[in-house]
């Protein structure tokens, strides 16, 4: 009978020499398989004297354990080497471009409407809307602009074809008709902002026949011009994301407000860019005033019980101001280069908590 130590050393040597998982498996079968050499030795234990068997079995079991360990260790080593070799063969050039994805954009007008909505929502305003094709009453008459009023000339109005009853639908020249529709729809108090498309017959370097306005209306019992100033100052600070804005309210004229004001904001125009909140220049940004008693009367609200303010401003214009966009006409040209450059990412969702803009 071969010496167990000698056998062990021979088997360990063969295991160490196995160069592949296949030869290693053959060595395992040769050593520990059903007819393996260690297995054969195990079978001899039954015929031994108890004393001798005890000693021999102990040695044989230890040898078997060591061979099993050696087999496992060798197997791990060979597996790792095989995996390493496979991985090495699978190497790719990671500098190659990834699969293409198309990134969409949000138009600056939509983005700015969302920003404005966020600010006014926090001040308790609702968003209201109305039709683009309006009638004379809502666009003009109810807003204290009777026929032949010189103020009608301020609005170069687009008309649709005359109807059989002699009326002519207009493309709304401002978002103010939604004030009328809102006040007709329910009793005061009201707090609304109205973003939307507006139209005037105007087309040059700084005017497009369609543009966007946002209108605000507050009707309550004790609302005065101080609230108007406070609201607009708060809005401008939040919208332009600056600590301080200096605003100037100048007396002006709109048929649907009295008193009326135009509002300028302090800015710096040096260096070809407009910066809000600093500088020595003024920039006109909106028109506003206390709702004219005749407007309230036109919708059946008693001006001795209710009063409030309204304002309107150009969305495209404040988008240009905030984001340094130079040309209004490009807003409506759908030039992909422009949209990708001035547009916003899908998830640039303005919130007051998370910040209006990046």
């Amino acid at each position: 009978m071969q010496d167990v130590t000698e056998l062990e050393s021979e088997l360990l040597g063969r295991i160490a020499a196995a160069g592949s998982l296949e030869t290693l498996e053959a060595e395992r079968v040769a050593a520990l398989g059903r007819k393996g050499r260690i297995t054969e030795l195990m079978k001899t234990l039954g015929g031994m004297e108890p004393e001798a068997r005890k000693a021999f079995a102990a040695g044989l079991n230890q040898a078997k354990d060591r061979i099993t360990d050696a087999l496992n260790a060798r197997k791990d080593g060979l597996s790792r080497a095989a995996l390493d070799a496979r991985l090495a063969s699978e190497r790719v050039d990671v500098t190659l471009p990834a699969r293409p994805e198309q990134a969409g954009r949000i138009h600056p007008v939509s983005q700015v409407v969302d920003e404005i909505t966020e600010i006014f929502a926090a001040m308790g305003f609702n968003i209201a809307e109305g039709p683009d094709i309006e009638d004379d009453f809502h666009n003009f008459t109810a807003l204290n602009i009777p026929p032949d009023h010189p103020a009608r000339q301020m609005h170069d109005t687009f008309y649709l074809a005359e109807k059989p009853d002699g009326s002519r639908p207009v493309l709304r020249t401002h978002t103010s008709p939604v004030q009328i529709r809102t006040m007709q729809a329910g009793p005061p108090p009201h707090r609304i902002v109205v973003p939307g498309r507006t139209y005037r017959m105007d087309s040059d370097a700084t005017h497009t026949p369609m543009f966007h306005q946002i209108e605000g209306l507050v009707i309550d019992r004790d609302i005065h011009m101080g609230h108007l100033k406070g609201t607009l100052e708060e809005f401008c600070r939040a919208f332009f994301e600056v600590e301080r804005v200096t605003m100037r309210f100048r007396p002006s004229y709109f048929p649907f407000t009295e008193p009326s004001a135009e509002v300028d904001i302090r800015c710096d125009r040096s260096g070809g860019q407009i910066r809000i909140g600093e500088g020595e220049d003024w920039l006109e940004i909106l028109g506003c005033g206390m709702v004219h008693p005749k407007v309230l009367q036109a919708v059946g609200i008693d001006p001795d019980q209710w009063q409030g303010f309204a304002w309107g401003m150009g969305i495209d214009r404040i988008a240009m101001l905030k984001y340094g966009i130079p040309d209004l006409r490009a807003f409506f040209d759908a030039d992909l280069r422009w949209l990708r450059h001035y547009g916003f990412a899908a998830l640039d969702l303005p919130t007051l908590g998370g910040g209006l803009s990046r």
């Binding site: 101080g226 609230h227 008693p293």
Partner: protein, 802 residues
């Protein structure tokens, strides 16, 4: 409205600096648009003293002048002006300066062999007038070497203000001065309006001659003849004054009317009395009459238009423009002055209809002071007598000053309640009085009568504005709006929220948002089912923007074309905006539409792009609907689409048989050709207003998750059906075979060709069974499969592929 500082100071006694005046004007609502100092542009042109003037050796008409300019040696200048002479002082321009009147840069040169190093300038060359007979002759005491502009009084800043249409009173310099005086910037000077006594009866009389004795079109007409005047160019002071504000001097008679218009806001007209036949009547025109106006154009008049006529016919358009025939000329000897009032509305309408703009129309349509008719006449008479001589008649008057007096009560706390500014009543009273309002105390407040020149004031709120603007809007303290309690109500409606989600969802799908005009070319509108007469613009800005769009697609397709021309690839655009079905509010609907053009992506080393197809558009439409919270697997896509889509590669997404939620497909090649845009181009339209409301339920809690712990089973089938059978019919039949067990069924292969009979196709579908309460046995699975095969066969005539 333009005026000079010195002109303003003719009406207001003030020491305020220009900057303070400008600030005050803007603060009063008379917004300063610009201040220009004409002297600043002329500061390089200096007073030169001609110390010697000799005959040019080679030219009879030229002189060689030596000009002392106060520094260095006298400069030699060759000058052709007849009045160039030794001892005179003139305006010297050195070489290198640009001459304002000609725009030419002056260079040193030899003129007929004699060096000339500068120029002595004429008034035209300085851009001051048309005068070019000789060079400017400055007074003998003009300081040599100093800028000449100050010597000629050109250092008078010109202020331009932007006037709102409610302030006709400030269309005269005096009205502006009055506002400034009320603001405390000085004292309004008195105005001499005393009557000039006439010495004879005017041979021309005036009549108001409107049907039924109506005087509304021209309530008051004052006239006066002045005989023996001498017309001609105005004196320098008057020419300079008019030029400074951009008016061209014409003749002294005409210049006087312009002066009174701009100084006092009182338009006037002067007729050459010799050319007036009979009396003058304010009346309506009649069909067939016409008038050659002072602008050289002939205007037809009718019964809507107020004319001033003599026995020969219309001589002027009332309140708008005078006529050529009876206008003043240099030879005019007897004049007839008109100071009249015209109805603002009718004047505006006449001006608009005839498309005439004039200083008179501008003022009359905004409202001219009815009380200032007579004083205006007296002031004009005095100016004519002073500048042209002559003998005035008594005035002739038709009509009367209309009643303009009205009174409004100003509550004592109204300025605070509406304007947010606490001001003592006494101060409010003072402000109103300074502006010319008449106020008396009653019940703690004021009864206020606005002045005749303020037609815009029509209620208490206007009085509040008057008090506030004089006190300054800056003085109103800004206060925050009272906060409302925080409630769980969103600021946006469901529809508005869907619009916002649609934009973000489509951008997240890789499409770029465009905003395009609501109007398109009529032909494009027609190609997309619109262009009806009720949605055409009566006055489009251009012929290719004349119809309200029935769909967003044509604008996006056109935009794709423009982008292709710029070299763009893989165009993916969307817009969420209105479409117009008719001209009522209900006809406007909100759509989220998009297009994709070209390939699915750029060329890539590993991922081959393919041309976009109908299924890209379908994915966009369904993907958007899913983002909008619609259960997409309850919807049907059917092969129905309008004519602008490819008839075989387009479809509609419907909820039930009736409700149309979306359309998608390849755009019809003929439509693309008409829009001149290259394909492949696919589009989709999702009608946001058509989406169902979310089911109403109490609370926000979601239903419990019903996930099964038992193994799911997948089985594949290949059915052979008629080529025309929609795959959706097969899938629907599978699902309905066992609604409890079958969780999903999806087409994973489509085959036509060898092995499948002609006219048939093989649809391979994978079915997923999800048992809820047990593990399925083979027998159970087989039973379901049998039901599926039978169901599909029944519904579609399908056979299982061998």
């Amino acid at each position: 409205m333009k005026f000079t500082l010195s002109w303003l100071k003719e009406h207001i006694e003030t020491t305020a600096p220009l900057a303070a005046i400008a600030d005050a004007l803007t603060g009063l609502g008379l917004e300063v648009e610009g201040i220009t100092d004409p002297a600043a542009a002329l500061s390089d042109f200096v007073v030169g003293h001609v110390v010697k003037a000799e005959q040019h050796p080679n030219a009879d008409r030229l002189r060689v002048c030596h000009v002392d300019i106060g520094a260095g040696d006298p400069v030699q200048v060759v000058c052709g002006a007849p009045n160039a002479r030794a001892g005179m002082k003139g305006v010297f321009a050195r070489s290198g300066l640009r001459i304002p009147g000609t725009g030419i840069e002056l260079k040193s040169s030899a003129i007929r062999g004699v060096d000339s190093n500068g120029m002595l300038c004429s008034s035209r060359e300085m851009g001051l007038s048309d005068e070019h007979e000789g060079i400017i002759d400055l007074p003998a005491d003009a300081p040599v070497g100093q800028p000449f502009a100050a010597v000629m009084g050109l250092d008078d800043p010109v202020i331009e203000i932007k006037l709102t249409p409610n302030r006709p009173d400030c269309l005269g310099v005096r009205g502006i001065a009055r506002d400034l005086a009320a603001k405390g910037l000085g004292t309004l000077k008195p105005l001499d309006t005393t009557a000039v006594p006439g010495s004879f009866d005017s041979p021309i009389r005036v009549h108001l001659d409107f049907p039924g004795g109506d005087t509304a079109p021209c309530p008051l007409f004052i006239g006066r003849t002045i005989r023996g005047v001498k017309n001609g160019p105005s004196p320098d002071w008057l020419q300079k004054k008019l030029r400074a504000i951009g008016l061209r001097p014409i003749s002294v008679l005409v210049d006087i009317t312009n002066l009174v218009t701009y100084d006092l806001g009182r338009p006037l007209h002067v007729f050459d009395a010799a050319k007036v036949k009979g009396d003058i009547r304010a009346r309506f025109g009649s069909k067939g009459e016409s008038l050659l106006a002072l602008d050289g154009k002939t205007y037809a008049v009718d019964e809507e238009i107020c004319v001033i006529a003599d026995d020969a016919g219309p001589e002027s358009l009332g309140g708008v423009m005078g006529g050529e025939h009876s206008g003043c000329t240099p030879d005019t000897v007897d004049v007839f002055i008109e100071a009249a009032l015209f109805d603002p509305v009718r004047t505006a309408r006449t001006g608009r209809r005839l498309n005439v703009n004039s200083d008179a129309r501008y003022r009359f349509e905004r409202g001219v002071d009815p009380e200032f008719c007579a004083p205006g006449m007296e002031i004009a008479t005095r100016l004519i007598l002073n500048l042209c001589g002559g003998e005035p008649s008594h005035t002739v008057v038709a009509g009367a000053v209309p009643d303009w007096r009205r009174s409004f009560y100003l509550r004592p706390t109204r300025v605070a309640d509406l304007g947010g500014l606490d001001l003592p009543l006494i101060e409010q009273h003072k402000t109103l009085e300074k502006l010319g309002f008449h106020a008396t105390h009653r019940d703690g407040g004021l009864d206020v009568v606005p002045p005749s020149w303020r037609p815009d004031v029509e209620g208490e709120a206007d009085l509040v504005e008057e008090v506030l603007r004089v006190a300054s809007y800056d003085a109103i303290p800004a206060v925050p709006l009272p906060r409302r309690p925080v409630v769980a109500q969103p600021a946006v409606t469901l529809g508005q929220r869907r619009v916002r989600i649609a934009r973000r969802a489509l951008a997240a799908r890789g499409l770029v948002e465009a905003v395009t005009y609501s109007f398109v070319a009529r032909a494009h509108a027609e190609a997309f089912g619109g262009g009806g007469p009720d949605l055409l613009l009566a006055n489009p800005i251009s012929a290719d923007l004349d119809a309200m769009r029935p769909s967003i697609l044509p604008a996006l397709i056109a935009a794709a074309g423009r982008n292709l021309d710029r070299g763009a690839e893989q165009i993916a655009l969307f817009e969420v905006g209105p479409e117009y079905g008719d001209d009522t509010p209900a006809g406007q609907r909100m759509a989220a539409s998009g297009i994709r053009q070209g390939n699915s992506g750029p060329r890539h080393w590993n991922d081959r792009p393919r041309p976009v197809d109908v299924f890209d558009a379908k994915a966009d439409a369904l993907g958007l609907l899913a983002q909008l919270g619609i259960a997409v697997d309850t919807l049907q896509a059917v092969a129905e689409a309008p004519a602008w889509y490819h008839p075989g590669r387009s479809g509609s997404v419907k909820m039930g048989p009736k409700v149309l939620l979306a359309r998608f497909g390849e755009i019809h090649p003929a439509v693309l050709a008409a829009l001149d845009v290259k394909g492949p181009l696919v589009g989709f339209e999702v009608y946001l207003d058509a989406l169902p409301l979310p089911r109403q339920k109490a609370g926000k809690a979601k239903p419990p998750l019903a996930a099964s712990d038992f193994p799911a089973v997948e089985r594949d089938f290949a059915f052979v059906v008629d080529r025309a059978t929609p795959a959706a019919d097969v899938v629907r039949a599978i699902r309905s075979a066992d609604r409890a067990l079958i969780a999903d069924a999806a087409v994973f292969d489509l085959y036509e060709g060898a092995g499948v009979p002609e006219g048939k196709k093989s649809v391979a579908v994978s079915m997923r069974l999800e048992p809820k309460d047990r593990t399925l046995t083979e027998v159970e699975i087989e039973a379901v499969a049998k039901k599926v095969i039978a169901g599909v066969a029944k519904a579609t005539g399908a056979t299982l592929r061998g």
